[in-house]
Symmetry: C2
Subunit: 192 residues, 2 copies
Amino acid sequence: MGRWAPGAQGRLASAAVELYGEHGFENTTVAAIAERAGLTERTFFRHFADKREVLFSGSAELQSRLVGGVEAAPADRAPMEVIAAALLAVDGFFEDRRDHARRRQAVIDANAELQERELRKMASLAAALAAALRQRGVGELASNLAAEAGMAVFRVAFEAWVKGTDDRTLTDVIRAAMVELRHLTSGEAPAR
Amino acid sequence: MGRWAPGAQGRLASAAVELYGEHGFENTTVAAIAERAGLTERTFFRHFADKREVLFSGSAELQSRLVGGVEAAPADRAPMEVIAAALLAVDGFFEDRRDHARRRQAVIDANAELQERELRKMASLAAALAAALRQRGVGELASNLAAEAGMAVFRVAFEAWVKGTDDRTLTDVIRAAMVELRHLTSGEAPAR
């Protein structure tokens, strides 16, 4: 278990994605999750509102890291540099978590309702990034575009990282995707 | 009524978004929509599976225009040029429909379930664009990034167009957003 999961919350999250993968999300009960983690249902409900929220409990911290990254960027940085800095500020959040992320993704890919929840999360993150850029005085169109393009990079990089079998970290993949996006939009021939 | 809505289907769609706006999506019945359009419920169900599908019935045509735009682009075009051509291939689909699009958007913005359906539609469009790029021999990362960035442009431009009070067409706004995205990713100072 990685450093992200030192206590009960991490054990419950690991147990949950394992069980969702083995038996399906719908067929897994909170009682079974607690049992697998060697904890009680009461402990489960101290950490999570329900079994769906186990999969999305990191959203608030992810959003606060992204928005914090925008706020912390030097004032003279261009919007897309600010977004890049914010995406790289998630460094550490996902490290040591690729196996967990992979299992979680498989569960989400198998369930339409969870996919919709995930899409809403991504849309919320984009809206939060755009709002943070506007706070810096960036215009509305540029804020929205930079935030949406940034989340496009994040989604694509995250998917590639989760599927990947090499040793690259998520931030390595995000950096490569930012470079690729610049190539693409500049009209240069992309790396094939 | 615009050229997009010459017959029963268009009259039903117009009546539906009017009623959703007046009474809320949940409080509107198919019977009320049919009555407002001067048609029967039976006619409604010839055109739409249910009252939700009235809001999403254009998705299939939109997707086929976008994918058709990718397929029709000359073989030597770079991926982002292909995506730009595809976005501009929706020209005509939305023209004369801004009032309808604005009313529809207000209905969707007021209902979490409809927002999720809209997000799923956008994700499907991005996946279809990425698949069409891969068919042209574009690599996976570049296909995914160009498609996601293209849909980012589309979403932001569509929102600006729907909210806008000037005479710009959707394609005018899409062109401006593509230029802005290139500025942003190139690291140039954006237009504020």
